[in-house]
Amino acid sequence: MAQEKLLSMSDAIERYVHDGDTLYLGGFIHHDPFAAAHEIIRQRKKNLTLSKCAGLLSVDQMIGAGLIKHLITAFTWNPLPTTAHCFVRALTKEVPHRMEIEEYSILALNLAYFAGALNLPYVATKTLLGSGFDWEQTDSGVKNRLRFEKSPFTGERVCLIPPIKHDVGIIQAQRSDPYGNAQAWGMLGEVQYALQSCEKVIICAEEIVDTDVVMRDPNRTLVPTFRVSAVVEEPWGSHPGPMAGYYDMDWPYNAYYEKETRTEELFENFMKKWVFGTRDRKDYLNLVGEERLKALRPERYEPDPVSYGKLTRHLGVPYA
């Protein structure tokens, strides 16, 4: 019998995220575990290697709070589009401290996670060639773990990408059963491969559902329960990011964040209000306000039901 894995957010982070860990923060814009990121900041985890394909405000806040020693990313930005100030301060001024950066394109980072998930020594690709990431062809100053070789099959030049693996990965999903059979839908970017490259997985879910709900739609399951360490019930856990079927992206929050974090002092005040001034997600949601949350709720847009077909007996009809 599988074991229930339900924990509070603070217990899940305390138990499974450690100083010095390599952490995959899941979600390609959507499914961003914002509530988990805030709890990691509150618990002041240190010297993290943070791996996030599409970095938005959650990454910027973790950098600004001084948790990140090494960032693996394809981009980190405020989608307004404008500067993610903490990310930029870390790289241009070493504020709050020096941060190493390991950059890829989105496809290249997907391939690195894929190699990590399958435990491959490397994957070969035709992207990145000739760019600043191609240290063999350019004098861009980039140092990375990529190799450039001739394909043994065609002789053409290829980029070899080594695997990326993580100690722990966190994702905000739409729903999960208490055992960690988590289901997500919408745009998934790198999520499926990246989660499988993690030793431990923390699932944060908008809703906890019965296993029966999962069993009736198994195509949507992210990772098998035996790969999941903890399940946290955390409604609105991705705000200000979006969650398909649950809430829109809080776009004006991006503009607000940009204005409120232009200096280190402003950023500190912002964090005092939104992170250190809140004990948990409930406190945070009170700050956002009920009216705003209500405005973010989308109209329902539902698929027609599908049938997977229930079979209980073998066909007993012989060919004549």
């Binding site: 390609f28 814009i29 959507h30 394909c53 599409a54 394809a74 981009f75 980190t76 930005w77 989608p79 307004l80 589009p81 404008t82 993610a84 990310f87 930029v88 790289l91 241009t92 950059e103 890829y104 394109s105 989105i106 496809l107 290249a108 997907n110 894929f114 035709k126 992207t127 060639l129 000739g130 760019s131 600043g132 990431f133 062809q137 350019t138 861009s140 100053g141 980039v142 053409e156 980029c159 839908w185 919408g186 745009m187 998934l188 970017g189 790198e190 999520v191 499926q192 491969y193 398909a244 829109d248 809080d250 004006p252 929050y253 503009a255 204005k259 956002v288 705003r292 989308p298 847009y301």
Partner: protein, 271 residues
């Protein structure tokens, strides 16, 4: 509602000129910012049969009910024919050789169509930092035709970018091929608020057409190298009444891109 009788702005001319480069029935990889509005204008006008793909694993089914503010705008949840993984679009469509054209915005572009969205100054201690590649490097590396769309500003057109986030022709077409990029790939056009540029046999940017209100000298002064001018250089056709009407009233009625309303610049944002 904006007035259709008002003359086009340089940005509107840029969007329309870029949209005209899109062929009906083609498969497009669409980046964030200008490519979104350009591709949706084309789909609303002469190219209803284009397939619009976004890097996160999205293939649109229709022109969305509200204009996406970026390629991950949650409006995709109710506007898509396919929602999946980045491997679906960047992988099996783009890397797999099934895309016809990629549309990209850029912070800066150089003489050989190399794009920088990474940093100004030395990479190890940059003076200014941008967000990084996203899917841009994949687009520029792999797409048969890359169209680059950006507002014209001399600072955005150095002779050589400080960092090649997205490879154009590097230092010439032969150099691009030596790097291992496939011969049938690379920049096809640059469209700016001043004009339209293509690339010659060596992979160097050439002014092909200029906005009707802009002189060739103004365009030449708008880049930091001695710009080549095509021998048949001509003024661009201004947007037709229909193009302008569809752009203003149908594609972006709230001015999210046309009047930069998505930045909430004029309003105090209370949260």
């Amino acid at each position: 509602m904006p007035d259709t009788k008002e003359k086009e702005t340089p940005i509107e001319q840029m969007i329309v000129s870029a949209a005209r480069l899109i062929t009906d029935g083609s498969v497009l990889m669409v980046g964030t910012q200008w490519p979104i509005i350009v591709s949706l204008l084309a789909k609303s006008l002469h190219a209803p049969g284009v397939t619009i793909c976004y890097e996160g694993g999205v293939i649109l089914a229709k022109v969305p009910d509200r204009i996406p503010l970026f390629t991950a705008d949650p409006v995709i949840n109710s506007s898509s024919a396919l929602l999946g993984n980045s491997f679906d679009t960047l992988g099996m469509i783009l890397h797999g050789g099934r895309a016809d054209m990629a549309l990209l915005s850029a912070a800066s572009v150089d003489r050989y169509g190399n794009i920088n969205t990474t940093c100004i100054g030395d990479y190890r201690s940059p003076k200014i930092r941008f967000g990084g590649s996203g899917g841009a490097c994949d687009f520029g590396s792999l797409a048969p035709k890359t169209v680059i769309i950006l507002e014209h500003d001399r600072r955005r057109f150095p002779e050589q970018v400080d960092f090649i986030t997205t490879p154009g022709y590097l230092k010439g077409k032969d150099v691009r091929m030596r790097a291992g990029l496939r011969p049938d790939t690379g920049p096809y056009a640059v469209v700016t608020s001043l004009g339209l540029f293509h690339f010659d046999e060596q992979g160097e940017m050439v002014l092909r057409a200029h906005n009707p209100d802009v002189s060739i000298k103004e365009v030449k002064d708008g880049v930091q190298w001695d710009l080549k001018i095509h021998r048949d250089v001509r003024p661009l056709d201004p947007p037709s009444k229909k193009e302008l009407r569809v752009l203003r009233e149908q594609v972006d009625p709230d001015g999210m891109y046309l009047r930069d309303a998505r930045r909430f610049d004029e309003k105090e944002v209370a949260v």
